[in-house]
């Protein structure tokens, strides 16, 4: 996990997103225990209340659940739930900003489609930004 203290995204949101990410990639499998509030707050020097706020967000979304006296665990079907949520966000997060940037660069619709097709089926999993 990596937190960005320079980002304008609140720390509690970064925590919930990173745990969500770990659930999605399977780094935290279903029914496995996630790091405790104490562990996370000591690792990153953040107030435990901030960590708790991030955890509560995930708990509210049903992605993690509490085992009394043990800690927080990844819920059944959590990875699938994250996938569905991200598919819904995909349009807003990527397509809209892609079109905005393409507009600024003066790319036409055809040029944009050509660019997408150039990489399609190839290394679409690359982490290029």
């Amino acid at each position: 996990m990596q937190l960005d203290f320079q980002s304008d995204k609140p720390i509690f949101l970064q925590i919930s997103e990173q745990i969500e990410d770990a659930i999605f990639t399977g780094a935290f499998p279903e029914d496995s225990q996630i790091p405790s509030t104490t562990e996370l707050s000591a690792r990153f020097n953040i107030n435990p209340a901030t960590v708790l706020k991030g955890m509560n967000k995930l708990a509210d979304e049903g992605l993690i659940y509490k085992k009394r006296g043990l800690g927080m665990f990844v819920g059944r079907g959590a990875a699938q739930a994250v996938r569905e949520k991200r598919q819904q966000d995909f349009y807003q997060q990527y397509i809209v900003s892609l079109l905005t940037e393409a507009g600024k660069l003066g790319l036409s619709k055809q040029e944009l489609i050509a660019l997408i097709e150039r990489n399609y089926g190839g290394e679409t999993n690359g982490d290029q930004k």
Binding site: F5, Q6, D8, P10, I11, T38, I46, P48, K104
Partner: protein
């Protein structure tokens, strides 16, 4: 986390003033420290931070006003004072004492002193318990005092420049240890420091003191949302910031950065401008520089 629900666990500072000669160090200050919070007490040199901590811990008497801990006045009141621990810049332990003896001493005053944790922390910081206090370097003197502060179970722990003289590794270790003991046994920490950036994420509430007065008290979260900076071509920035509350501007040739107070609405910002978060340190500098920090001592 264990949450204590007793509402009487509070430090209340009311209408406190304190002068040294003809210099007024604190001007009619009122504030409250709630239970199980971590506070950052920020201010420039001479702002009055240490004076405030000295008053709370009864090392100084106020000219006027009252300070109470859990409902009882702190003035010459051992019961109220036993609820708090003050790690000051000055050393209050006999110089000829060894570190281990000092721990024993602390345990006499504070029966809940966590000797096991103290031993562990000594090992982590590589502080030799057999050493005499007068033999400790500046850094290790801070470490020694810091370990006691982290192991005392008082309701309120006051830390004045706790990482003075510590190298980066030891500062990290100190913060980590602070978070651990706070998670295990929540109590109130009041941290006065100049290393704002390093402690921001640990603080729940920030109090900024400026020239003997409270300039700002707010949650860290709110303060981080309080402002932002925009930078880009000077005329574009100029146009965007007109009518907004600006607390500072940097100019570099045709480029301009402006520090804006108020919540950010991304949709309103022209896409060619860069938006950056205003961190606590920048905000602090901007808020306390216009009317210059004065010497209060």
């Amino acid at each position: 986390m264990v949450i204590r629900s007793n509402n009487d666990y509070k430090i209340k500072v009311q209408d406190i003033s304190k002068s040294f000669g003809n210099v007024q160090a604190l001007k009619n200050i009122s504030l409250t420290f709630e239970p199980d919070h971590i506070y950052g007490l920020l201010g420039r040199n001479g702002a009055g931070k240490t004076t405030l901590l000295n008053l709370i811990s009864n090392r100084l008497y106020a000219d006027s006003g009252t300070i109470s801990v859990n409902g009882e006045s702190v003035i010459d009141n051992d019961k109220a004072l036993s609820k708090l621990y003050y790690m000051s810049e000055k050393n209050c332990y006999p110089e000829s004492m060894t570190v281990d003896q000092a721990f024993k001493w602390a345990a006499n005053f504070y029966p809940g002193f966590d000797r096991l944790r103290a031993k562990e922390l000594c090992a982590k910081f590589e502080l030799n318990g057999k050493k005499k206090i007068k033999q400790l370097s500046t850094g290790y003197n801070s470490i020694f005092k810091g370990i006691i502060a982290l192991c005392v179970d008082a309701d309120f722990i006051l830390l004045d420049e706790p990482v003075l003289g510590l190298d980066a590794n030891h500062r990290q270790l100190f913060y980590k240890s602070l978070m651990e003991t706070y998670s295990d046994n929540p109590r109130t920490f009041i941290i006065s420091t100049h290393l704002i950036e390093e402690i921001t994420s640990m603080l729940e509430t920030v109090m900024i003191i400026h020239r003997g007065e409270i300039l700002k008290i707010d949650s860290t979260e709110n303060l981080l949302k309080a402002g932002y900076s925009v930078s880009g071509k000077a005329d574009t920035v100029e146009r965007y910031i007109s009518g907004k509350q600006i607390i500072g501007v940097d100019v570099l040739g045709g480029l301009k950065s402006a520090y804006v107070l108020g919540e950010l609405d991304r949709a309103q910002v022209p896409p060619e401008l860069d938006i950056n978060r205003m961190d606590l340190q920048k905000l602090f500098i901007r808020m306390t520089e216009n009317n210059q920090g004065g010497e209060a001592k």
